[in-house]
């Protein structure tokens, strides 16, 4: 019987499955960070349990860490980081601590260390674990009780989800990125369109993407409610992985690739739902509201809530406009920004930084804008410096920071002040996400860079025709 990529990975990991009940799935890789693990380790201690497979568990520090050099000053953040250090030492779990040279955002370092591989089951106490699905892994976020369950048993109960194939068809126009594809898709299907599904992203537009861009797509699966997002592994995947620290080597590598080539969905495999979105007509996307589905092309304007038929959606749009301090009909290109953030597990990889730097090179940040670039990991930071990208950003007036989650969620000193407006390459524009009262507009790295230069949103495709700011 033909099978989907998801079904193949799922079936390989079932320890047992009750009829009509949940399956107990084996977990190949458990990623851990400071914010959602302390209570889980404490639970183990109280029950006198061990970590079953410390060798399949990897921890890093990312959410709380300051991105400026120097000691951590927030006592609560420090206590949480200290707890992770003590817990990983006590239970024998590898920790990529701040300053180790391997630290970074958990969803950036997993792939970069070669820990993330096709066919694996990967979990982490973080909703953006869906990122790792870009390699053909089944990867999803879990809560702290589940973190404790995985630590103790290396397994997790899961109800079998429904399957969806989302075909991203056509050819992505120049100047657009995976971020525009996924924002455009979420705008179309809505923020709850994927609830209950594992989504496989397929189609020519997906095949053409680099691994960095595929990670951006899968990263935002959770933003439309999907349990996980997956992309079939191919030569692009293998080329990215080969030679990485934890990737198989030599004869093992050849065997692994041979196995991974069997993972893509069979031609006649059936899905519960199939959808197609043509990306050939997309324009760069900018969110205007307080969830990622509230999005329009940069060439468009803020929608009028009165034009919405659904009363819930109308009310939500009215609230969003009040929070965002925007008017119906306002042109997106007339919206000014105070801050620009280039970073996060969505868009902080080397290719994102190169793309932003290409827009910035030889230009200056608008005097009214404070702009940050926060590489996703210490390794990416070093690589970018080797390529001279740090100079491009610094010369233009950007700040060049240390790796971490930074302003994506403002659990560290990088936050917006009330009322400040930010063009951000992160994944969520929820109220207060980047700081209480802060206003977030989600965009691609290129669009964020362009907004930094002009102090407002501009269409990156026509940047050369924009008047050069003084």
């Amino acid at each position: 019987m033909p099978k989907t990529l998801f079904e193949k990975v799922w079936e390989r990991h079932v320890v047992f499955e009750e009829p009509d009940g949940p399956a107990l799935l084996y977990v190949d890789l458990h990623l851990v960070h400071e914010v959602t693990s302390a209570q889980a380790f404490e639970g183990l201690r109280l029950a006198g349990r061990d970590v079953r497979r410390p060798d399949l568990t990897v921890a890093t520090m990312d959410h709380n860490v300051p991105t400026l050099p120097g000691p951590i000053t927030d006592p609560m953040a420090k206590a949480q980081l200290d707890a992770l250090r003590a817990n990983t030492a006590e239970f024998g779990v590898r920790l990529h601590a701040t300053g180790s040279g391997h630290e970074g955002i958990v969803h950036v370092i997993g792939p970069e260390l070669g820990l993330t591989q096709p066919g694996k089951t990967i979990v982490c106490g973080d909703s953006h674990t869906s990122t790792h699905g870009a390699f053909g892994a089944l990867a999803f976020g879990i809560g702290t009780s589940e973190v404790e369950h995985v630590l103790a048993t290396q397994t997790l109960y899961q109800q079998r989800p429904r399957t969806m194939r989302l075909e991203l068809a056509g050819q992505l126009p120049p100047g657009l990125t995976a971020k525009d594809m996924i924002l455009g898709a979420i705008g179309r299907v809505g923020v709850d369109g994927g609830v209950g599904y594992v989504v496989e992203y397929a189609g020519d537009a997906v095949r053409a993407l680099s691994m960095e861009q595929r990670m951006t797509i899968c990263n935002m699966s959770i933003e439309w409610g999907a349990r996980a997002g997956m992309i079939a592994p191919d030569d692009t995947t293998f080329a990215y992985l080969e030679g990485r620290e934890h990737a198989p080597a030599g004869r093992d590598w050849e065997q692994a690739v041979e196995d991974w080539r069997t993972l893509p969905s069979d031609p006649d495999a059936a899905y519960d739902t199939v959808a197609v979105i043509d990306v050939g007509e997309l324009a760069p996307q900018v969110t205007w509201g307080t969830n990622p589905g509230m999005v329009v092309p940069v060439t468009g304007s803020v929608p009028d809530p009165a034009s919405l038929d659904d009363p819930d959606a109308r009310l939500a749009a009215e609230r969003a406009l009040a929070y965002m301090d925007l008017r119906p009909g306002q042109r997106i290109e007339d919206i000014r920004v105070d801050r620009v953030f280039i970073g996060s597990c969505t868009n902080s990889r080397i290719e994102d930084l190169r793309a932003a730097a290409a827009v910035v090179a030889g230009r200056r940040v608008d005097p009214g804008v404070t702009a940050l670039v926060v590489p996703g990991s210490a390794q990416i930071r070093r690589q970018a410096e080797d390529e001279g990208l740090d100079r491009v950003f610094l010369d233009a007036g950007f700040e060049w920071r240390l790796a971490g989650c930074s302003m994506c969620l403002g659990m560290n000193p990088d936050i917006l002040s009330p009322g400040e407006r930010c063009a951000s390459t992160s994944n969520r524009n929820f109220e207060g996400r980047q700081g209480r009262g802060g206003r977030t507009h989600l965009v691609s790295p290129q669009m964020a860079a362009a907004a930094a230069l002009h102090g407002r949103f501009v269409d990156v495709r026509t940047l050369d025709r924009e008047p050069v700011p003084a």
Binding site: D20, N64, M76, H149, Q159, D192, G225, N291, D312, F430
Partner: protein, 197 residues
């Protein structure tokens, strides 16, 4: 986890779609390393203004909703972040039950792990329950997990579906890890047969 069979209590209504976990428990409260004490921070940025005074316009600040143990709300409740602190905060504040047309997957799982009932009803049933809540004097409802029925403010009964394994665990207050460890042989056998021993 303490067993829970049935809840009778006051109802609160938060008629908004897509309430994300960043609103349920804002990030500034995620730095604690305890599991308890989050109720005071529930919906912090919606409940309180910058000076810490209650915002009268926020639904859950209505006097009729004080002390509620059942929350009726809109579709896709608990979307976004995986933070289990959202479930901990609702429960610590006094909510044993949340009823909505749909939930964020991770939130729904987190609720179940903590013995809080996240119940899905068709949108029209949720709307009808909301309409039956007396906004001037407050209303009570019963949610019976054993019979899998909700007794609305008007006395009408609505049946609900609930995952059988989670129901069994909550009814009996069972520790899921202990249950899984009863299958340790199967886990060890899996590891042996998959080159993971």
């Amino acid at each position: 986890m303490k067993p829970l069979r049935s809840v009778t209590g006051r109802v609160a209504v938060l008629d908004r779609p897509d309430v994300d976990t960043d609103q349920i428990i804002p990030k500034q409260f995620l730095k604690r390393i305890e599991r308890t004490g989050y109720g005071q921070f529930l919906f912090n940025d919606w409940r309180f203004d910058d000076d810490g005074a209650e915002r009268p316009g926020f639904e859950l600040n209505r006097p009729e909703f004080r002390g509620a143990s059942i929350l009726l709300t809109g579709r896709n409740f608990g979307c976004g972040s995986s933070r289990e602190h959202a479930a901990w905060a609702l429960q610590d504040h006094g909510f044993d039950v949340v009823v909505a047309p749909s939930f964020g997957d991770i939130f729904r799982t987190n609720a179940g792990k903590n013995g809080m009932l996240a119940i899905v009803l068709p949108e029209r049933d949720v709307e009808r329950l909301m309409e039956n809540v007396d906004l001037d004097r407050g209303s009570e409802m019963t949610v019976d997990l054993e019979r899998q029925v909700i007794v609305g403010p008007d006395g009408g009964e609505i049946a609900f579906a609930f995952d059988a394994a989670t129901r069994h665990r909550i009814l009996n207050g069972l520790d899921e890890i202990a249950l899984t460890l009863e299958h340790e042989d199967a886990i060890t056998a899996y590891e042996a047969s998959h080159g993971l021993a």
